[in-house]
């Protein structure tokens, strides 16, 4: 039926724009608002409260109400700010967050059940340097925070920015070291190839993969500036640091970017260590249990849902950790990054390289 509606020449374009629409609607329209609701409900649960439960069923529409409030709020701008950079900073937070989404693969290669001439990737931009692209775009996020603090012309905000810059530079290194181990194990920087390399053998179940995972997770929390690494915000000492002076939708953009970045990093974690959309480790792939991922035009939905479930678990871990662990002291933060994670990361790279060269595998 669908063949009649969509002629063969139009279909690749429909597929292309469909992917873009799907991923961005999901990222900005579903995951971010729902995560904000989850965050508040879990926080309430941890602190023995009820949490938002008035707007819609279980309070699910609370984020929508908050979004409308933020959009309709007066656009306040303190007198002493540097206007251009004050407006640029929140935009610089949202744009890289959206850009990183462009290379996140979300399902197996598919022909949509034979509709497309050759297998296409469920990824907006099939870039062969996808992993490096995510790291590169991620490293730009620090500018929004640095500029926000500087442009606010507020000493607490500048302190927050300085802490954020130092922290993000330090933990980018640790994250890079963890990722190099993954690159060595899979032999590629293409996110699709990394998942393919794990078809029978998730990296989390290898020794170097597990060590890399242990480095990646704290680096992930630090890169998104979340507790226990939320020193740039530090409500009690810095009155939320870099975004003290922001209100309305400008604050909303920072908030949105944080949740989108969390989603990207959770997806990376699943792609690097937990086999992406593969069903279970040790050979129990979709083919292994007899599921054809390319039988109908909608067959990719099941692997995608499984991938989304894994990502959702890590998003939950973000929230869980935030409301369970206290904040680090600044010197502890730097010490952990430079004296523990980076050296372990370098040793891990040597271990992977040694195992591949002399041990014939890992």
């Amino acid at each position: 039926m669908i063949n009649i509606v969509l002629s063969a020449s139009v279909l690749p374009w429909v597929f292309f724009f469909g992917k873009i629409l799907f991923i961005f609607t999901l990222g900005f329209g579903v995951i971010a608002p729902v995560m904000i609701w989850v965050e508040r409900r879990v926080a309430a649960f941890v602190q023995d409260r009820v949490g938002p439960n008035r707007v819609g069923p279980l309070g699910l529409l609370q984020s929508l109400a908050d979004g409308i409030k933020l959009l309709l709020k007066e656009d306040l701008r303190p007198d002493e700010v540097r206007p251009f950079f004050f407006i640029l900073a929140p935009a610089l937070a949202a744009v890289p967050a959206a850009m990183a989404f462009a290379v996140v693969p979300f399902g197996p290669e598919t022909t949509l059940g034979g509709l497309l001439a050759e297998p296409a990737r469920l990824q907006i931009a099939p870039l062969n340097v996808g992993l490096l692209y995510v790291l590169a775009i991620g490293s730009l996020a620090v500018y929004s925070i640095a500029l926000a603090g500087w442009a606010s012309n507020n000493k607490f905000s500048v302190m927050g920015s300085l802490r954020a810059s130092a922290q993000m530079i330090s933990y980018e290194l640790a994250m890079g070291m963890a990722v190099v181990a993954v690159i060595l194990m899979s032999g590629s920087v293409d996110l699709y190839d990394i998942v393919k390399a794990q078809t029978n053998h998730w990296f989390i179940f290898t020794i170097p993969g597990f060590i890399a995972f242990l480095i990646f997770v704290p680096a992930m929390f630090a890169e998104t500036n979340r507790t226990p690494f939320d020193l740039p915000e530090a409500e009690a000492e810095l009155v939320v640091g870099f975004h003290t002076e922001y209100s309305g939708m400008k604050f909303g953009l920072f908030f949105l970017a944080e949740y989108v970045n969390m989603t990207t990093l959770s997806a990376m974690c699943v792609l690097f260590f937990f086999g992406g959309w593969e069903f279970l480790p040790f050979g129990l792939t979709w083919e292994g249990i007899g599921y054809q991922v390319d039988q109908h035009w909608f067959s990719w939905v099941i692997p995608f849902a499984w991938f989304a479930a894994k990502v959702a678990f890590f998003l939950f871990v973000f929230v869980w950790v935030r409301w369970t662990l206290p904040r680090f002291r600044y010197d502890q933060l730097m010490g952990l990054g430079w004296k523990t994670l980076v050296p372990i990361g370098i040793a891990n790279i040597a271990l992977v390289a040694g195992l591949i060269t002399f041990g014939g595998g890992f």
Binding site: L127, L132, A136, S139, A146, L162, I169, V189, D331
Partner: protein, 180 residues
């Protein structure tokens, strides 16, 4: 007849030249740094036009994402005042216009001297492997191995030097109990 490739190339080139000018002519160091980041970013765009995605990503990752972050960090830490720098008010717009005019003059002169310069570039190597991670790393680790290793040693020396200077500072007398 200009195709999309040419239009993109010349717009990128124009942005690169303009942002380079702004780096030199803005009074506040932070603004200069922002223009330099834009410059690096658009340069990465030029690499993408050449089909070399790897170089483009590395350009953003290393220059825009790492080196410039340190620049901005240091500028914020020092909190430089244009008055202290002696760049208050910055260079005037007329000097920027003069600078752009000079660049255009150089371009026109080059065009007159070597008419082939602004023509389409010679055919690029086959796009399938050119600029890919595999091709770039193979070149780096075979043909250019000595340069590659040498730059590694230079970076290591710089690192040791920084450590040495910081260590000497740390050994200098300080308030008892103060944290380094």
């Amino acid at each position: 007849m200009p195709d999309l490739h040419h239009i993109l190339f010349f717009s990128f080139a124009a942005i690169i030249l303009f942002s380079a000018g702004m780096v030199a002519f803005r009074p506040r160091p932070v603004e200069s740094a922002m223009w330099l980041i834009l410059n690096f970013f658009v340069t990465a765009g030029l690499y993408v036009l050449l089909g070399s995605h790897f170089t483009a990503v590395i350009q953003v990752l290393v220059y825009a994402g790492a080196i410039m972050v340190l620049f901005v960090f240091v500028i914020l830490l020092l909190n430089l005042d244009p008055r202290e720098l002696g760049t208050e008010g910055g260079a005037s717009w007329s000097s920027l216009v003069l600078f752009m005019g000079f660049l255009s003059f150089v371009l026109v002169a080059l065009q007159l001297a070597t008419p082939d310069l602004l023509k389409a570039p010679a055919a690029l190597p086959e796009a399938s492997t050119f600029g890919s991670v595999e091709a770039a790393s193979r070149e780096l680790l075979t043909k250019y191995i000595w340069g590659f290793q040498l730059s590694g040693i230079i970076l290591l020396l710089a690192l040791i030097g920084v450590g040495l200077i910081a260590y000497r500072k740390a050994k200098a007398p300080q308030v008892k109990g103060a944290h380094a």
